[in-house]
Symmetry: D2
C-alpha cells in the first residue's frame, strides 16, 4: 500500500539558495508516515498513552532535484516492514503533476518503553492493525 | 541586568528572499531568555521536574533590518518583570560590531501546573533567585 | 473577508512540554497570509520576479491555550490594511470544531525594492487586486 | 582533520516525546560542515557570489540514543571526500563529556551552476583550499 499526502511549500521551508532546505524533506517523511499509520487506524497518541514510543533510528534521503516556494508536493509513503520490532518506510516526493521524483527516502523506527527508554515489542493491539 | 548571547546564522535559518526568516528571531529570543535564567541559576529542567511549566503568553517583535547567512548576531536580553506570576523580557538583536538594532522584541511567560494546565504561582525556591 | 486554512500538528511542531512550540504559530500566520493573497489572485512569485519583496516588520501574538500533536487547527486570516505601503493581517487559531480561540495574532509587511532593500510602493498591477 | 562544534539544545529543538526531534541533527550536520569549510578558509558566501551552489544530494543518519533540552552536544565533522565534483562528510554527535555516540551521519554535496542548475566543477580558487 502507498499513501499519498500533499504539502505546499512555505517561505519558511526555503533557504537563501532559493530552494527547499533539505532538512525539511526529513520532516515531511514524518507527515507521510503518520498519515500512513492513520490510514491503518494506528493511533500514535494511544500508543504514547500506553507508554510506547517509536523513535527514529535511521534516515536516508537522496535529493535529485529542488523544490521551490509555493510548489505543491506529493509525498508517496510505502511501508516496507511493519513488525513488532520496527517500522520501515520508503518515500518518494514529486511536484504535483510531474513524473520526475525530486527526493527519495527511507526511515526506520523502533519501539521503546517510555519509562525505561529500552527497546520493547509492539503490543498485539497495535500489531494486529499493521499486519 | 542584560545578558548577551551570540548566534551565527545557518542556511536553515534563511529563506528564499535571501534573509533570515522572521520566525527564527522568536526562537532566538528563547535562547536569550534561557541564558538569562541560567545566569541567575534558575534551572528550567528542575522547574519542569517540580511540575511547573512556563508557557509563552505574549510575543511581540519589530523587524527593522534583515540578517543574512553567516552573520554573527548578538541577542541582548533584559528582564522587565520577574514575579511569582510571570516573566517578561525585552530583546534587542544586533549584528556583531554594529550599532544598528536589527530586531526588537518582548515576551511574557506565565507559570502553570503541569498536571492541571492551570495558572500557578512560582514556588519560593525559584522566586528567590529571580528577585 | 476572512480566509480559513487548516493545519494538522506534526511531531516536529511540538516541544518537550508536550505542546506546540509558540514560534510555529508565527509560521502558520504565514500560511494564512499567503492563502489570503492567493485567494485575491496576488501571486507572490510574480511579485518577487518583479523585484518587489515584502518583509515582515511587525509580529504580535497572544497564546491563550495550547495545541497538541495531531490536533487539526483552523487559522482564520483577516486583512486589516492592504495599501501600496503595507499589508496588515489579523489571525485567530482554533482547534477544529471548538469555539475557544487558542492563539490570536497580528502581522505587518511592507514592500521593498529587491535590489536596493529600500521601502517602495506597490505597483498598481498588484494593488488593484488588493483594493 | 576533524572539526568539533558545540550546540546547546533549545526547547524548539525538542518534541512531545521529550527528546530532540531527529530532523534537527540533519540541520546540525550543516553547522559542522560550514564550520569545517570555514576552518580551511572556504567562504561559502564567496562561492555563492561566484555563481556556484552546493546542494545536498545525500543524507544518512543513525540515531543511537536521544538528547534532551539543555544538553550540550559536540558535533564532530570529518571530510571523507573533497573534490571538484563533490564534498562528503561524516558526523558524530556526542553529549559533552560522554563517550557514547548519540548520532552518526553522512552527507554529500555536489556543485551546481546557480544560473543553469546544472552540475559543475569547483573552480581552482576553492579547490586549492580543499586539497
Amino acid at each position: 500500500m502507498t499513501i499519498k499526502t500533499n504539502y505546499q511549500v512555505h517561505f519558511y521551508d526555503t533557504d537563501t539558495m532559493g530552494v527547499v532546505h533539505h532538512s525539511n524533506y526529513i520532516r515531511w517523511f514524518e507527515i507521510g508516515r503518520v498519515e500512513y499509520l492513520r490510514n491503518i487506524n494506528v493511533d500514535l497518541n494511544e500508543m504514547m498513552a500506553d507508554g510506547i514510543l517509536f523513535p527514529i533510528t535511521k534516515v536516508e534521503a537522496q535529493f535529485h532535484s529542488p523544490a521551490h516556494f509555493d510548489d505543491i508536493l506529493e509525498i508517496e509513503t510505502t511501508a516496507t516492514a511493519l513488525t513488532k520490532a520496527k517500522m520501515e518506510f520508503e518515500y518518494k516526493v514529486f511536484r504535483r503533476g510531474e513524473d520526475k521524483v525530486l527526493v527519495t527516502g527511507f526511515t526506520q523506527n523502533v519501539f521503546t518503553n517510555k519509562e525505561t527508554g529500552k527497546i520493547t515489542r509492539l503490543p498485539d493491539k497495535f500489531y494486529e492493525l499493521m499486519k
